[in-house]
């Protein structure tokens, strides 16, 4: 009998560190509230009552829920197909399915607009966002499936259940936590996305925020809308925690792959390849078409490209590290201890993820100038902004990877003479490392693609691939933009591919 989650109280130092993490990440929230309370209550309610605001809220909610749901379903289906159907190039397929992560949403929409210029509205936004975010569900579910035994399903089949039913009744409960956590990330991503919906002219709350800044220079109005986003996020994050279920550590027995007929295999292949085709191939093709159209092909300034690439890689690596460090106490707390306080802390850690980059960026302009002016517009604050923005991406995987380390192992280490911290460092950390690495990679990828906060906070003169891409496209130089877009996707594809690979080794080691 092993006790996985203790009813005993968490040690104070861990709670303290977690509080510190949450406070750091809540800086944008504080800013939003600060600006929102600048307005008198009457104006507050006026803004909220405006029919347009309600329309934007409905749009935002509708789109986010739709994308989260479709990503959930599609992600689980693809992961199931990848693990249970015998494909010839199964490993490569998993790799390819991770690629949409590498494409920034604004790039995806841009590429499609080249192909279908009139593209706009809810449906294209929904479909495109699904294609780009589905790996957030596919990858963890595929990993979870690798850790489950197919024996349960086999037993269910002998009891008369069809394959679909067997999957739903037996295997789904085991992968549910991973799937739901991934869907949560998709929801928050969609909530905060601006680039894609702006280009596809689907008006959401993020669009409203942008308008408040750009047209009216009204930061308080922007803050009120941002608060709306936070409230939505709060409800959903809380709901996810109850839907999550418990992580099951089971002995991994490799699942058998079923041989299927050609028709089924082709269909399965199409489903698996759909997101990469829609989210990667089509946009890049669109950009390529633009490139060909251009009459003046500007020369590629390789040193500039190199600098931007270097800066992008450096800054994402640092951001991944910082995000992980911030996430770690919170993840450790949530993994081993239960209770309402723990739950609230974890929820707070997720909320800032709902805010669009411009809000987080401005909040840190405000904060760094108020607290540490010499650090303003330095790499330090920029990296910190990324960590704040993307920490939730690391939080979920960090938590479940720590949860997955049996407490028995730590207990044994302690009876062998290791003090608590030493036991943690020598046993839990190495075993949780693959999972932590996944979180870090997710943060790195997101950082590479980030634009609005980067524009606000980067040291003057420093450019990332994303900002270079932006400066060229906003000036209409699509030919000049193409190499940066290509390199950006390439560079971001590397961690995406590692992601699909790391999971494999992680499971085998365990």
């Amino acid at each position: 009998m092993t006790i996985t989650r203790a009813a005993r109280a968490a040690p104070r130092w861990l709670v303290g560190l977690s509080l510190l993490s949450v406070s750091l990440v809540s800086i944008p929230l504080v800013y939003v509230v600060w600006r929102a309370v600048d307005v008198p209550l009457s104006q507050f309610t006026t803004v909220l009552m405006r029919p347009r605001v309600q329309e934007l809220t409905v749009n935002t909610l509708g789109l986010s829920l739709a994308v989260a749901l479709s990503a959930l379903v599609l992600g689980v289906v693809i992961a199931a197909l990848l693990s249970r159907v015998r494909f010839r190039a199964a490993a490569s397929l998993l790799l390819i399915s991770a690629l949409p992560l590498a494409v920034p949403s604004y790039l995806a929409s841009y590429g499609w607009l080249v192909a279908i210029p009139g593209l706009n509205g809810f449906v294209p936004s929904w479909l495109l966002l699904t294609a780009v975010t589905v790996p957030y569900v596919t990858l963890p579910v595929a990993a979870a499936l690798r850790g489950t035994s197919a024996e349960g399903e086999a037993v269910a089949r002998t009891l008369g259940l069809g394959p679909l039913r067997a999957f739903v009744d037996v295997t789904w409960p085991q992968v549910r936590p991973a799937a739901v956590a991934g869907a949560l990330l998709v929801f928050l991503y969609t909530l905060s996305d601006f680039g894609l919906v702006a280009m596809l002219r689907f008006e959401t709350l993020t669009w409203g925020i942008q308008q408040s800044f750009a047209a009216s220079f009204d930061r308080s109005q922007a803050a009120i809308l941002a608060l709306l986003l936070v409230v939505i996020a709060l409800v959903v994050v809380a709901a996810e925690r109850s839907a999550r279920g418990q992580v099951v550590t089971s002995r991994a027995k490799l699942a058998t792959r079923e041989p299927v007929g050609v028709v089924t295999r082709t269909l399965a292949l199409l489903i698996v390849l759909a997101p990469p085709l829609v989210g990667v191939v089509a946009p890049l093709a669109g950009l390529g078409a633009r490139l060909l159209e251009a009459q003046t092909l500007r020369e590629i300034d390789f040193s500039r490209l190199g600098l931007a690439t270097g800066a992008t890689i450096a800054v994402s690596a640092l951001a991944a590290l910082v995000a992980l460090v911030i996430a770690l106490p919170l993840a450790a707390l949530a993994a081993r201890y239960s209770g309402r306080g723990v739950g609230s802390l974890e929820t707070l850690g997720y909320l800032p993820h709902a805010l669009p980059g411009i809000v987080v960026g401005l909040s840190l302009v405000f904060f760094s100038l108020a607290v540490l002016p010499p650090l303003y517009q330095t790499t330090a604050v920029l990296v910190f902004a990324y960590a704040v923005l993307f920490m939730p991406k690391a939080l979920g995987t960090a938590r479940s990877s720590i949860e997955g380390v049996s407490p028995d192992l730590v207990n044994v280490a302690r009876t062998l003479g290791a003090r608590p911290f030493s036991a943690w460092a020598r046993v839990t950390l190495p075993l949780a490392l693959p999972g932590l690495g996944i979180g870090a990679l997710l943060v790195a990828i997101a950082t590479m693609k980030e634009l609005p906060a980067t524009l606000l906070l980067r040291p003057t003169g420093v450019n990332t691939l994303a900002t270079e891409l932006w400066s060229r496209t906003s000036a209409g130089e699509f030919a000049g933009a193409a190499p940066y877009a290509a390199i950006l996707v390439l560079v971001a594809a590397i961690p995406a591919m590692i992601l699909s690979g790391v999971r494999r080794t992680a499971k085998e080691e365990l």
């Binding site: 044994v412 009876t415 062998l416 290791a418 608590p420």
Partner: protein
């Protein structure tokens, strides 16, 4: 080497009481088996001794040193108490060598000690393997070596042979007991396997529902169980209804002819009981029954022997085990059936008639009074 003492220890999880008023003395160098069904609290007790769980009531001591008390606890890493958990729990990211050496300080002596222990458990050539490459039995042996490496005063083993097949289990258990004796390590072994407990332990502690039911040597626990439940837990039993008769025989122990009190060292009074097997000698366990009182009679199958005289009985079923057979008998004129253990190569067949006699005083217990005596 000191005596490990558990004094009136209580432990509660939320609403569930895991341990209640548990007291135990574990003499230095002995091997104590804690025997009981699942959920009886044995693992909780072990973890409390190891310091992995705190206790709510009572005290745990090692010699004069206090280890655990409500609200205060010496951390596990400072107790010098080793622990072999139920499922080996080897560190998957470390080699066998590094697993065994985990609790040792770095240095040349570490390597020597690791190799010494690996040889001790018979895995000298496995040092560079990874845990995933070991079989269940090998993993358990590594876990044992790992726990022994820092030379702990006490070693706690939580059902360490649970996952192994019976042959391997038996040999491994004996090997381990031998190693522990050689190392003069005090050991507490938790098991639900009675044969293991009886074979290896110096002291057997029987637990149920978070409480200790009986403590004694294997012989004491087997031959003089405190309750019918203990009796059936540590061995096969045959239960019969009976009526107590006393006074017809001199009490061998106290000399009284008519009536005697149970004494400090006597489980109870000797006398006779009338049951399906006739009027047979019996000892009352832990109490003094009144003449004519209805009692529960417990008899072990090996105490029944087919002979030339006794109760006539007919064979109704045979459970063959190779070295003996558990034979079920119908007795003439009786509703209750009995089982007798009959040694090989004598193998009766169904329908055969025998005469059964009881070669050992029966055990007599009071009737249950609604609440199970624990």
């Amino acid at each position: 080497m000191t005596t490990l003492g558990v004094h009136n220890v209580g432990l509660t999880y939320g609403s569930r009481t895991a341990l209640k008023d548990v007291s135990l003395e574990i003499p230095s160098g002995s091997l104590v088996a804690i025997l009981g069904p699942s959920g009886c609290g044995k693992t909780s007790l072990l973890m409390a001794i190891a310091g992995l769980l705190g206790i709510d009531e009572g005290v745990i001591t090692a010699g004069n040193r206090e280890l655990s008390r409500s609200g205060k606890r010496v951390p596990p890493e400072q107790r010098g108490i080793g622990w072999v958990p139920q499922e080996a729990s080897l560190f998957p990211h470390l080699s066998v060598r590094d697993n065994i050496g985990f609790g040792l300080r770095k240095g040349r002596r570490r390597n020597e000690r690791v190799e010494e222990l690996a040889a001790l458990v018979g895995l000298g050539g496995f040092l560079d393997r990874s845990p995933g490459q070991l079989s269940g039995g090998q993993a358990q042996r590594v876990a044992l070596a790992r726990a022994l490496a820092p030379s702990p005063d006490v070693l706690l083993l939580d059902e360490p042979y649970g996952a192994l097949d019976s042959v391997l289990r038996h040999t491994l258990a004996r090997d381990v007991a031998r190693i522990l004796r050689e190392e003069e390590t005090t050991a507490v072994l938790v098991t639900h396997d009675r044969e293991e407990a009886l074979d290896l332990a110096d002291v057997v502690v029987v637990m149920d529902g978070g409480r200790i039911v009986q403590v004694g040597t294997p012989v004491e626990v087997y031959e003089s169980p405190a309750t019918p439940w203990v009796a059936s837990f540590v061995g096969d039993t045959v239960e019969l209804a009976g009526v107590w008769r006393h006074g017809t025989l001199q009490c061998e122990q106290c000399g009284a002819a008519d009536f005697c009190e149970p004494g400090d060292n006597r489980p109870g009074c000797s006398g006779h009981v009338v049951c399906a097997l006739g009027e047979v000698a019996a000892t009352a366990q832990g109490y003094q029954p009144v003449d004519g009182e209805d009692v529960r009679v417990v008899v072990r199958p090996e105490w029944l022997a087919p002979g030339s005289s006794g109760i006539p009985a007919t064979v109704r079923g045979v459970s063959y085990a190779g070295h003996d057979a558990l034979v079920e008998f119908d007795m003439e004129g009786q509703k209750e059936r009995v089982r007798a253990r009959i040694a090989a190569p004598f193998l009766p067949s169904v329908g055969q008639a025998f005469q059964l006699t009881l070669r050992h005083p029966a055990l007599v217990f009071p009737l249950p009074s609604g609440v199970e005596l624990a």
